[in-house]
Amino acid sequence: MTDLLLDATGIVKRYGAVAALKGASLAVRPGEVHALLGANGAGKSTLVKILTGTVRADGGTISIRGETRVMRSAAEARRAGLVSVYQDPSLLPDLTVHENLRLTQTPVQPFRDWVDRLGIHRLSIHDYVRDLPLPTLRILDLARALALEPDVVLLDEMTAALPADLTERVLEVVGKHRESGRSVIFISHRLIEISQLCDRATVLRDGETVGVVDMAPGAEDRIVSLMLGPSEDGAAASATTPAVTRAAGLAPAGEPATASATGTPRIAVRGIRVGTRLADVSFELRAGEVLGVVALEGQGQEELFEVLSGSRRPDGGELLVDGVPVRFGHPADAIRAGLVYVPADRLEGLLPQRSVRENIALPFSARMADWGPIRGAAEKVSVDGAIARLQIDTRAQSEVRRLSGGNQQKVTIARWIATGVRTLLCFDPTRGIDIRTKRQIYALLRELADAGAAVLLYTSELEEVQLACDRAVIIFGGRVVEELPASAADEPTLLRAAYALPPDAPMPEQVAEAAIAGGTVA
């Protein structure tokens, strides 16, 4: 048994009643690059926060070089020999690079050396950080971490938005880092990178460590199956729930509305581009269908929904509604064009201190043309209709914030139904709500689609694709990489596609080829 450099065991963390981690462990040997993997919500980010001292664990121990440590702050983790580089750079925008180094007491010369080795040559350290481009900042963040000569560097999605040449440099430098007996914890959504770079991988599922895999040929398959968990569960769920969905749905249990697959699509997205996140996304959404969007965290789905809901202007590409090109300058434009948005964070869409009734009626009374006295009677009819249709529990209706999460989410949907919905954009609408309400929401989406609406549903829960959608597009690295009918979109297939792995059991050579091909395309 090798002496472990970092050993975290039995880590437990609860947020209220929800256990984010229930006995996670992570053991890193000296001189290895260790991947930390898990599907969305598996507890990865919580574990990272605990390791780096941003969040205190409720149980478990962390030891570095055999010494038990309690991390209370980033500074303390750093003293213990663990430095992390986050997805969003943690350099302070209003300080110069040099001042940032002073703040973290980073020696300047080693920092310069690392920056040089990482492939950035023209840097004045007296530039303000706010004036530097994002990829550069990530590199500087990494260089700063390496200059501190930590025992363990934790890279959280470090390569997610780096251009290919810089990524290569980063991977090379990270790979070399282990030669000195130091270690790297590597978190990435790119399984290809992981198989190239890492020695071992720890897989988390539902807040527990479910396996540690040596990165040998074929390891990707094991990783994917570990992330998914015992297949019986998934099979059982998908065997029963569609039936439930159909039963709960008021619509006759017919075939998904594929008949409308002709004619002008309700929405056509063509080559939409946003900053570094969305490279080129195209798809069509038709009336009468529920289209699923599947992506790992941070693949550009947020930006896509922001563009569609009018809160962000794309840098390029075209958006057609009913065949007519549109440009949204404001969410009101999108709403006028019939595109309405249900955010994952319900409080983003609700007025929490106001009543259920007011919240549902808001899109009515906010309409510019309708300013003036609110027509109470007409409003009441449609609001009551929506409440009844969604079976919203209105016992606590005087303030929306006192409703349960599920009922709040129903209110955010109800407000659009009350006005008559044409295109519903749902961003992970079932996040953190109970299974019963989830099913009601699936049924509702189906019902809306059957009534002629078009529904776009981003979901972080893969099984929802088969439960609620007709079709799914998979986005990876800001591009649509796959499009599947719901019948073919079982969880393993989706997860592979979401990691941009080839659909069949891949030979490592194929993976490498795919990586090269992907690299040249990008």
Binding site: T54, D94, R102
Partner: protein, 334 residues
């Protein structure tokens, strides 16, 4: 610092030292000083006899606001705001005036030290309340402004007290040449002694850091709470200097707060300190304090009704800040 700042390696350019970049980075502040110059010339044009004595009295009159602006600057850079600056100035001012009343010169020193200590502690109390209660700064300091104003009245319930002669003389007259007002020297020295070492220390960086981005600051190992308390404490210290300046100028203490809280916010906004935190320095607000006073006095000399002159002052403030906003916006788009 030298240990952390090794000589620049050969081959690596140090563009920061180039003149052009210096101008670009400090464009706003340079513009403010040009504006001060323009306003002084305007004053001379309006009133040809405008000269050194007027400059001296201008500096004397600006002194309390200059300190108030310095106080507000520290807190706003750290991402907060302090609405109790004016009340704290009144509190420290009457405290100093009461200590010095009918006493010898040596009590002047005691009064100054005690007033500064009082300001420091009161500021730290503001900061602690913000940090512990997690109530927004604006509310905590608004509430505390009533507390400090009440304390001022408890110390002295009507204008009174006194000041040692040498203390009064600190803010009038001039040094070396009659064109160098003592009040200006006092402001520069007092602010510099506190601010320059702080700005160069990690504590000072931390103040900018928490105002710039709290999450990133936390990740960089900054103790956000402690830094916030520090920022408020330094703010209190500067506010106490402002209070002492009031006592110097009037020779007495007045327990009712002057208009310094809102004027200080106006001065820092004009001085290029971002209300969102993280950006700005001391030189801008100092110039801004002079600009606000000069606009007012120039309008007075032009014979404009004082009621109109406050309106004009406000309009000018809005316009200048808008120009700054547009410039930033254009740079962001470019």
């Amino acid at each position: 610092m030298s240990a952390l700042n090794p000589p620049i390696a050969p081959g690596q350019t140090r563009e920061a030292s180039s003149f052009g970049q210096l101008i670009r980075r400090n464009g706003w502040v340079i513009g403010l000083y040009l504006l001060v110059g323009a306003l002084l010339i305007t004053a001379r044009l309006i009133r040809p006899e405008y000269g050194a004595p007027d400059l001296q009295s201008l500096a004397t009159a600006v002194l309390p606001l200059a300190f108030a602006a310095a106080a507000q600057t520290v807190v706003v850079i750290s991402g907060g705001i302090d609405l109790s600056v004016g009340a704290l100035m009144a509190f420290t001012s009457v405290t100093a005036a009461v200590i010095m009343k009918d006493r010898g010169d040596e009590f002047g020193l005691i009064a100054i030290v005690l007033a500064l200590a009082l300001g420091l502690v009161a500021g730290a109390v503001n900061g602690l309340l913000v940090v512990i209660s997690r109530v927004p700064d604006i509310i905590v300091t608004l509430a505390m402004s009533f507390v400090w104003a009440g304390c001022a009245l408890l110390v002295l319930n009507s204008p009174g007290g006194g000041a040692a002669d040498w203390v009064k003389s600190l803010s009038v007259g001039s040094y070396v040449t009659e064109w160098l007002p003592r009040a200006l020297v006092l402001a520069l020295v007092a602010i510099g002694v506190v601010w320059i070492p702080l700005r160069r220390s990690r504590m000072g960086l931390a103040i900018y850091a928490i105002g710039s981005n709290q999450v990133a600051a936390l990740r960089s190992g900054v103790d956000v709470r402690r830094t916030k308390v520090l920022a408020y404490a330094v703010c209190g210290l500067f506010a106490a200097m402002g209070g002492l300046a009031l006592t110097m100028n009037t020779g007495i203490g007045t327990p009712v707060p002057g208009p310094y809280t809102l004027s200080s916010v106006a001065a820092i906004v004009l001085g290029g300190v971002s209300l969102a935190g993280g950006r700005g320095g001391m030189l801008g607000p100092l110039a801004a304090a002079f600009i606000l006073a000069l606009i007012r006095s120039n309008l007075f000399f032009m014979g404009v009704d004082p009621n109109y002159s406050t309106v004009i002052q406000g309009v000018i403030l809005v316009i200048v800040v808008m120009i700054g906003g547009l410039a930033t916006l254009r740079r962001a788009r470019a």
